[in-house]
Amino acid sequence: MPFVLSPFEYLEPKTAEEAIRFLSDYNKRAKVLAGGVDLVDRMRRRDIGPEYVVSLRSIPGLDRVEGNETKGLRIGALVTLRSVERCATIRRHYVSLWEAVHQIASMQVKTMGTMVGNLCVATPASDVAVALLALGAELRILDPAGERIVPIENFFVGVHQTILQPSEIVVEVLLPSLPPATAGAFMNLVRTAADISKVSTAVTLTAASNICKDIRIAVGAVAPTVVRAKQAEGTLKEQKLEQKLIEAAAEAAAREVRPITDIRSTAEYRKETTKVLVRRTIEKAWERLNA
């Protein structure tokens, strides 16, 4: 394990277009730098050895949170996890996202790390990804041809793999405005407070008169990417909310996931606790709706 990084050329484009140009020119020989928490760590381990590092930090307009809960929220690529945590609108109206960020223990990681950067790392245990998946977020991606919007459930392809091509960058996360009578929650299980999640869940529930109008259930660390438990959702959609049905949905979620055994936990445990966490997260969201 080295102490020192391998040399590279550092580039700080002044516009997003310039950044895209660099990335197109250098293709796989370049990597994007936002907060650097993951990039610098992987460079030190020699997992990656880019010849060029393209920093986004001088590109204007990427470090803002814009909009509100009625129009929807736009969170720029350079917005840090700490800024997300401190955003009153997110704390009040996108509670599951706030909870996912708040339980990230290291203040330093939250100060340096960006939310978009976290998504691009695409770890299947990303708490932020789980919450955003349950919130129906979209990503605005810039590429040499222009830009496009991609729903987050189409963004992740595998472990540390997204649909991003080398010459593309995510510039924004778009959070939709949530319909009235919607509430959410996030929960996870960890070894110590600073550890990566063993299992994480997020739920966004829309219900009126105790009939579930819409529900999104996202689960993390139990498949190669964060996933939606679609069958679990199907169990509840358009149905009257009641305890037995929630338990059935949780059981369906547990059947849908494909966890592995690793240093943090076992496949068996993750499957079992997926059921428990999904149930509890739905219950929590429901409780918040009724409050």
């Binding site: 223990a105 299980l189 070894r191 110590t192 600073a194 990566i196």
Partner: protein, 773 residues
């Protein structure tokens, strides 16, 4: 009678606190010497392989590289990293000492075959880190890969690969029944109930925040200076001289006063031999050998995994009639401390509770994994995890409160200690500790399991006997030297090492109290084996007691000289004089007094030619133990749906004898407790069973508790001074964590009725056990 002290018993801030708080403190990694080179080490990627060839040529040619070393460049002397083979066990002759340390020697600086993934194979020294790292990549090693074995039970089988020549079944040592007494078969026959169970523990890593590091330098006369954050400078200095064939006087070991934690991991040789070998080749330039955290994880030692099979016989009235223990220890690739910790562990299992019929045996087994060594508690945390659960099980069998069972059966004052050969327990305040801690945690109210939805709460306890130093198993001694200065200060010269526990500041408090000075008046001179006298080392909870007694002896000597001189000036016999507040007083007529400073000046510049430097020197050695005791209680909450355990509160009452500095004692117990919680619940040193690669070699994969994982902790200091201790003090450095795993395991059982017999106690195991119920 309550004694009033002016310095002892005060919660003084640790010395050197401001330096640590401002970044002024210089640790070894912060050192810069003229011409200093950076050393880096090449580690084996294979768990078991012969080294056929090491081609250093490309590395040597790289500009900026000044030394490349492998097997052929280093002494071939066999040794052990374990320090105490250089010290005699009690009652052993010089001849036997020689055999004693040859028994341990199973390693060399670069072995001709590697025995674990991460074993050093070669090293470089270069003008900077980048070049050193590039040079490592240019070294080409040819290995002949051998079959490897990672599990100790597998390693003991006939068909297992042999790791050390002529060590059959990889059983390096079999500790026989010397720890036994009476007749266990008879004892089991007398029992009304028998409890039997097996327990497993894993390797725990020290995770001290300062990674392994060393600086070494040969000067032009060939004299070697080593800078290392070690716990045992005098003993390791002798070892280095032995390995490198140097006269001991040619080796100078410097220990910084700032060490970033040790927890027993710096008792042994760590990377010093490699650093010295690099310095030997670096033509007079100092070499700083630096390790990454990942390298520190595998190249330095970890706590022995010890597995126990326990059988205990008990009568319905609570009498223990027989205890039988069989254990095996995973020593890893080299023997190091595994014999010693296993021995201590067995002794604890068999002797802390009153029982006439005890039998124990142990196998110490090599595996192709990183070396097991000394870590805080030294076999006792492992032993207590097993023993204190067996005790709870026995109490349950006969329907007795486990607290009562312990009060009834734990050995106390006057009875034999659990350290071999046993000496009488000088004083045990264990009963008081148990009663106080039980009351503070709410034992009687909380023993009936409480519910809150899917959560269950419970309390559990462990009672602990721990050693203050390893006497008489080892003959230990400490020396101290004091000189008084003009102006009324004193220089105290000791060899104890400040690992974070402020031993130097606390020793200064002892000296100041005895000399009638303030703590700030004491200057500490330390950290240089050319200046300090011998000290066995800073380990085994021994320094406050051992070095403290040396300091007290030296201070008394200096005081004697001081009072003899003062008696001339104050016109009173020395026996009529006393010191306090920086003055010498005539006891019965205190208006007759003079400043200590003046006594010293007048002695130094004596007008009639009777000049004297007022000094004291003392060597303190013991063949006795003064065991310390504690009661560790834990309150937990278990989530029955997820198996998660939350430690709500910990209470530890410790029999400290006298708390020379109560804040320091509390800090040791609190820190030890949280290490114990990590050991029990979240830490796990994992070796891949196919490749032998350590999968938990950094803080991301190996999880120690954060601030958010630290529960409410209450420590109670029970002060029943012991005559043999300085101002009555006993040890505490290790005891905070010793009972924690058992207390938590017992609390979990109280909460949810499942007993987890394998550490770490993870939610995965608890959930599985709950489902099986």
């Amino acid at each position: 009678m309550i004694q009033e002290f002016s310095v002892v018993g005060k919660r003084l801030p640790r010395i050197g606190a401001a330096e640590r708080a401002t970044g002024a403190a210089q640790y070894v990694a912060d050192m810069k010497l003229p011409g200093m080179l950076i050393g880096r080490v090449l580690l084996s990627p294979h768990p078991h392989a012969k080294i056929l060839k090491v081609d250093k040529s490309k590395a040597e040619k790289l500009p900026g590289v000044e030394a490349v070393i492998a097997m052929e460049d280093v002494p071939r002397k066999a040794y052990t990293r374990y320090p105490y083979d250089m010290m005699a066990p009690a009652g052993v002759t010089v001849m036997e000492v020689k055999e004693h340390h040859e028994f341990y020697e199973d390693e060399r600086i670069f072995n001709d075959k590697v025995r674990f993934v991460g074993e050093p194979v070669a090293a470089v020294a270069a003008i900077n880190e980048s070049i050193a790292e590039m040079a490592l990549e240019l070294i080409e090693v040819e290995y002949e890969i051998l079959p490897a074995v990672f599990d100790p039970e597998e390693a003991m089988k006939a068909e297992a690969p042999i790791i050390h020549d002529s060590v059959s079944h990889n059983i390096r040592a079999h500790l026989p029944v010397t720890f036994s007494a009476g007749d266990v078969n008879k004892g089991f026959q007398e029992a009304d109930h028998i409890v039997e169970e097996s327990f497993r523990t894993y390797k725990q890593k020290h995770c001290q925040l300062e990674p392994s590091v060393c600086v070494a330098h040969f000067d032009l006369s060939g004299r070697l200076t080593i800078w290392s954050p070690s716990q045992t400078p005098h003993v390791l200095k002798k070892k280095i001289a032995y390995i490198f064939g140097l006269p001991e006087g040619m080796v100078r070991w410097l220990t910084p006063i700032y060490i970033g934690g040790a927890f027993g991991g710096r008792q042994s040789l760590t990377n010093e031999p490699i650093c010295v070998a690099l310095a030997a080749k670096a033509a007079g330039k100092p070499v700083k050998l630096i390790y990454t955290r990942e390298e520190d994880f595998v190249t330095t030692e970890s706590r022995q995994p010890i597995c126990y099979t326990f059988k205990l016989g008990v009568k319905s009235d609570g009498t223990i009639t027989a205890i039988q223990v069989k254990t095996f220890t995973d020593a890893g690739a080299y023997y190091s401390h595994s014999g010693a910790t296993t021995g201590m562990s067995l002794q604890q299992c068999l002797w802390v509770y009153r029982c006439d019929n005890v039998a124990g045996e142990a196998n110490i087994v090599y595996t192709n994994t990183p070396v097991s060594g000394g870590m805080r508690g030294y076999g006792n945390p492992q032993a207590m995890f097993a023993l204190e659960q067996i005790i709870d099980m026995a109490a349950e069998k006969i329907g007795m409160d486990p607290l009562e069972f312990r009060l009834r059966n734990a050995r106390g004052t006057g009875e034999p200690t659990a350290v071999y050969p046993p000496t009488p327990i000088e004083n045990s305040a264990l009963h008081e500790c148990i009663e106080l801690a039980a009351q503070r945690i709410g034992w009687s109210e909380k023993r009936t399991s409480r519910k809150d939805g899917s959560k269950r709460q419970g309390v559990g306890m462990a009672s602990v006997q721990h050693w203050t130093g390893a006497a008489p198993t080892l003959v230990e001694h400490s020396s101290a030297f004091i000189k008084l200065n003009g102006g009324g200060s004193a220089n105290l010269c000791v060899s104890s090492c400040d690992l974070g526990q402020n031993i130097l500041g606390t020793l200064a408090q002892i000296a100041a109290e005895e000399l009638g000075l303030q703590a700030d008046d004491i200057n500490i001179v330390t950290g240089d084996t050319d200046v300090t006298m011998f000290d066995s080392g800073t380990y085994g909870s021994r320094s406050l007691y051992g070095a403290g007694n040396a300091v007290l002896g030296a201070a008394r000597q200096a005081k004697k000289q001081l009072l003899e001189r003062a008696s001339e000036e104050l016109n009173a016999a020395p026996e009529e004089l006393e010191v306090r507040n920086r003055r010498v007083y005539v006891r019965t007529t205190p208006e007759r007094s003079m400043p200590i400073a003046d006594v010293v000046t007048n002695a130094t510049f004596n007008s009639v030619g009777q000049c004297l430097d007022i000094t004291g020197v003392y060597t303190w050695s013991t063949l006795n133990q003064s065991a310390n005791f504690n009661a560790t209680f834990a309150e937990v909450e278990v989530d029955t749906e997820t198996g998660e355990v939350k430690v709500i509160k910990v209470v530890i009452a410790h029999d400290i004898g006298r708390a020379i500095n109560p804040a320091i004692v509390e800090g040791q117990l609190e820190g030890g407790a949280v290490q114990g919680i990590g050991y029990t619940l979240t830490e796990n040193f994992v070796v891949d069973m196919d490749t032998g690669i350590c999968l938990s070699n950094n803080f991301e994969t190996y999880r120690i508790p954060t601030s958010l994982d630290s529960p409410e902790i209450e420590v109670i200091l029970v002060e029943r001074p012991v005559p043999s201790g300085p101002f009555g003090a006993k040890g505490v450095g290790e005891a905070g964590g010793v009972g924690m795993a058992a207390a938590i395991a017992n609390a979990i059982y109280n909460a949810v009725g499942v007993r987890i017999k394998e550490l770490p106690i993870t939610p995965e195991k608890i959930l599985k056990a709950l489902k099986a119920k």
